[in-house]
């Protein structure tokens, strides 16, 4: 499938504040694509740029083969769903939804039909005549979505659409969003700062930090093969040890060493290991054994998280809590195992 959006060398500054720095992203048609990053990283700015509410100082924005940088928001055929929903309080649900169709001069009977269809799609057909203030947060969210998808935009832009909902509703809406996307097959760009949300919903993710794209890829690839420490940390807890690598052996310069790594020689690199990839018992032949001492223990429900001193490095180890496993106490001496294949040098 081809790309529907090409973002090329986009730069945005507000005065001295350089908000987006030379951003390049290609988004495939029908993709569920997420902009992920901490607040203030520029992800919403890029989304609003695509929608036509921000201007770039340089770069190109191509939607469906057409350069749109100079076009007004109403000429772009992209639908933006706002974080606060932005439902018009003086219009009923039905009026809110039919607005975009009326603007496009769609015939009256077709408007009615399409409004009914989309209301059914989001399960709101009974609340057609309500006003926004008579709806719950989740219902408002559905109306906001319906209002945008009813005009069948080329791209659906969602600006942190779940952030105003409580945790339970958030999970439910996440599933609904995904189902809706599967049904409509509309290219969707989703902005969030929640990595769990991003992982669970996206085909691809672009990770932002301080206006710079850090890495683009599928959620599992990003998690397993982060390109830098920021991405590694942002997607979950990770052990990072600074040191150097030569001939496949990493050393922190003191006692900590791991051998048989697939990595180039480097004098300044980091070894990354996820906490669940360090074990208290040997699982593979290639596992390497270390002596460790338990520093502290945290019970988190499904896992027990230990801080363990290994050859002068304090490492986090997550051990599945199954009920029968051995629980270690503070200052207990332990054997730990790290597999070079699940370790990464960056």
């Amino acid at each position: 499938m081809g790309n529907i959006i090409n973002i090329k060398n986009i730069n945005v500054s507000y005065g001295k504040n350089h908000v987006l720095k030379d951003v390049n992203i290609d988004i495939k048609e029908k993709d569920f694509f997420t902009f992920l990053g901490p607040s203030g990283c520029g992800k919403t700015t890029l989304l609003r740029l695509i929608a036509g509410f921000e201007q770039s100082q340089s770069g190109e924005l191509i939607i469906d083969g057409k350069e749109v940088s100079k076009l007004n928001p109403w000429e772009r055929d992209v639908g933006l769903v706002f974080q606060n929903y932005a439902l018009w309080p003086h219009m009923t649900v039905a009026k809110n939804i039919s607005f975009g169709l009326e603007e496009k001069k769609v015939p009256k009977n077709e408007i009615d039909q399409r409004v009914d269809e989309v209301l059914e799609l989001v399960g709101m057909q009974d609340l057609k005549q309500r006003y926004p203030f008579q709806l719950s947060g989740g219902q408002q969210q559905r109306v906001a979505l319906a209002r945008t998808i009813v005009v069948r935009p080329k791209v659906l832009l969602l600006d942190e659409p779940l952030s105003n909902l409580d945790a339970k509703l958030r999970n439910q809406m996440r599933i609904e969003l995904l189902e809706l996307h599967n049904k409509l097959q509309i290219t969707t760009i989703f902005v969030t700062h929640d990595q769990e949300e991003a992982n669970s919903i996206s085909d691809n993710i672009a990770i932002f930090n301080e206006g710079v794209i850090q890495q683009v890829g599928a959620p599992i690839d990003l998690y397993n093969h982060p390109k830098n420490l920021f991405v590694a940390n942002f997607l979950g807890t990770i052990n990072a040890v600074k040191g150097k690598t030569s001939n496949g052996t990493f050393s922190d310069g003191h006692d900590f060493k791991i051998e048989s790594l697939k990595a180039d020689n480097s004098d300044n690199c980091s070894l990354l290991v996820r906490p669940q990839n360090i074990y208290f018992e040997k699982k593979n032949d290639s596992d390497q054994n270390f002596k460790g001492k338990i520093q502290s223990k945290e019970f988190l429900g499904n896992i027990i998280r230990y801080q363990v001193l290994i050859s002068g490095q304090v490492m986090t180890i997550d051990s599945m809590h199954e009920g029968k496993e051995k629980i270690y106490s503070k200052n207990e001496d332990v054997d730990v195992f790290i597999n070079p294949e699940t370790s990464q040098i960056i």
Binding site: G52, W74, G79, L80, F82, Q83, W88, H90, G100
Partner: protein
């Protein structure tokens, strides 16, 4: 036990005060309007009203003037609101400060001066005639009232509209744009309906103010309107003539109706509460040509708004001003006259307004305490009644006082109570009580209940808490209330005009009115007006500074 007795008896005293000086006078007006000569119930007075050509004409005129004032005020306000909200516009600050001008000068004060400025032979028309060969009848008949009122009251629409536009969440507009809407269509479908509540609130206020106003038509010599008719019936025919009361009732009913219609028009929806962000409309930079248009429109409106003040200043310093663009020569004699020779007006005003404002803050303190801090039965009613004085036209209250207190004699001099100067103090106090009450409520709401409870738990009695905790902490708010009540009372005319029986007892506003009746009196009248404006301006400034300071102070207390 003591606590409840104290609170209950205080509530009772305040209740009786409001009953005597607000509820009963208004009730009297209604009651009398339904009485025939023999004192039995009748609707004849009302049918007489609608049979009388002059009254029908007056009713129509009042309605017409109020409606046209709304239209003209909108013409002034809409472009200004649009410029400030839609564009990055340097004139915004000037426009926002225009909002305070009606607070500083009620329309009747500048009415005569406006005639000299905009009348057939006034400055503007003399210049127009000289250079362009035509005149504009700004001040002819009802035009004059409409013009003066809308110049004074348009900021009510402006302020409400700007607030309402600034409360519109920017995403309201953006989501419409994202769905293909733009330009005027977007303005009509999204911006206009969302700003309607603000506009209607402002417009209905203008309508009410103009409809009830007595001073402006009186000073412009327009008698065929409702308020002047009521005044003339009572003051020239006598307090037993039912028509004055019928007109008063019609004034009140129309006021209530106007508020009700405005409410209905809004369908009870306040959009600003429903939107989350705010931030106002999307702002654009102006193109050079737009800039020129914007600044000229703002300049013109600024000139109109300031013209009563400019004209009044000229008049107060002018020797003779007739058939000329500006006065022939300038003098400070008018000020000397009203400060040294006829100082009675200023002295009376100082005395009346100080007493009235003092009564106000005492009442306001206790009412706000009772309403916000106690469970005394009927406490909400006290609040509603006290605040309702805002909705009652001053003229109606004045007529009510005259009727109610005329038949009682003052034990001090044996004359009717209604002609006693202290009644002017009371009517001013009742009229301005809502201002003081608002200030007291705001002050008390900022004081944490824990401050009182901690004193109580340390063994302090209610009276000690009042004295040592509440009053000191509320001083700023009460002072601001005092100043607002005081300064706005100095230029109150419509209620007091009914109660002034001799010039010796007359306050400043009445002085302006009586001076302005003669050509020779215009100078001193304008000088009195200037003094009044000065008092209100200084008062407004100080109460604003006190409130600002207080907020800062309490902010520190809360943070610490």
């Amino acid at each position: 036990m003591f606590k409840n007795l104290f609170l209950n008896s205080t509530s009772l005293i305040i209740g009786i005060f409001l009953l005597l000086f607000l509820v009963i006078p208004i009730a009297q007006v209604f009651y009398v309007s339904f009485l025939d000569v023999n004192g039995s119930f009748t609707l004849v007075n009302f049918s007489d009203f609608f049979k009388n050509q002059l009254f029908i004409e007056s009713f129509y005129n009042s309605f017409y003037v109020a409606a046209m004032s709304v239209v003209l005020a909108s013409v002034f306000a809409l472009p200004l609101a649009y410029f400030t909200s839609r564009f990055n516009f340097k004139g915004s600050v000037i426009i926002q400060s225009l909002g305070f001008i009606p607070l500083i000068m009620p329309p009747f004060v500048g009415a005569v001066a406006m005639k000299l400025f905009f009348g057939t032979n006034g400055s503007v028309n003399l210049l127009l005639d000289q250079y362009f060969g035509f005149k504009i009848p700004f001040m002819e008949g009802l035009n004059g009232v409409i013009f003066v009122e809308s110049v004074h009251y348009f900021p009510f629409i402006l302020i409400n509209l700007i607030t309402s536009l600034n409360n519109i969440d920017r995403s309201m507009e953006e989501s419409a744009q994202s769905l293909g809407s733009k330009g005027f269509g977007l303005f009509k479908r999204i911006v206009l309906p969302l700003s309607m509540p603000g506009y209607i609130a402002g417009a209905s206020l203008v309508f009410l103010k103009v409809f009830d106003d007595l001073g402006t038509p009186l000073l412009l010599d327009i008698n065929n309107m409702l308020a002047p008719q009521a005044y003339l019936r009572i003051s020239s025919i006598g307090i037993n003539d039912p028509m004055g009361y019928v007109i008063a009732v019609i004034l009140v009913v129309t006021s209530i109706l106007a508020v009700w219609v405005a409410k209905m028009a809004l369908g009870g929806k306040d959009y600003s509460m429903l939107q989350k962000g705010g931030g106002g409309m999307i702002k654009r930079d102006m193109k050079p040509r737009q800039k020129i248009t914007a600044y000229s429109v703002v300049g013109l409106i600024l000139f109109l708004v300031l013209s009563p003040h400019i004209a009044l200043t000229l008049l107060s310093f002018g020797t003779i001003w007739s058939f000329s663009v500006v006065p022939d020569a300038y003098t400070i004699d008018h000020y000397k006259n009203i400060i040294f020779e006829n100082s009675i007006f200023i002295k009376n005003t100082m005395l009346y307004c100080t007493l009235a404002a003092f009564i106000d803050i005492v009442l306001a303190f206790f009412i706000s305490y009772i309403v916000l801090r106690t469970k005394v039965k009927g406490r909400q009613l006290l609040d509603y009644i006290a605040m309702s004085a805002l909705a009652i036209p001053g003229l109606v209250l004045g007529i009510g006082y005259l009727r109610t207190f005329y038949s009682f004699n003052n034990p001090l001099d044996g004359k009717p109570l209604a002609s006693w100067w202290f009644m002017i103090v009371l009517i001013l106090a009742v009229r301005r009580l809502p201002y003081a009450l608002r200030a007291a409520n705001a002050a008390l709401m900022q004081i944490s209940k824990f401050l009182e409870e901690s004193a109580e738990s340390l063994g302090a009695k209610k009276t000690t808490i009042f004295r040592k905790i509440l009053v000191p902490l509320m001083t700023g708010g009460l002072l601001a209330g005092f100043i607002t009540s005081f300064s706005t009372a100095t230029v109150e005319l419509s209620a007091t005009i009914m109660l002034v029986s001799t010039e010796v007892d007359a306050p400043l506003a009445y002085g302006i009115y009586s001076y302005m009746q003669t050509a020779a009196g215009r100078g001193p009248g304008a000088a009195l007006g200037m003094i009044g404006v000065l008092i209100v301006a200084v008062g407004t400034y100080f109460s604003q500074t006190i409130i600002d300071k207080k907020y800062k102070k309490t902010g520190e207390v809360n943070n610490g």
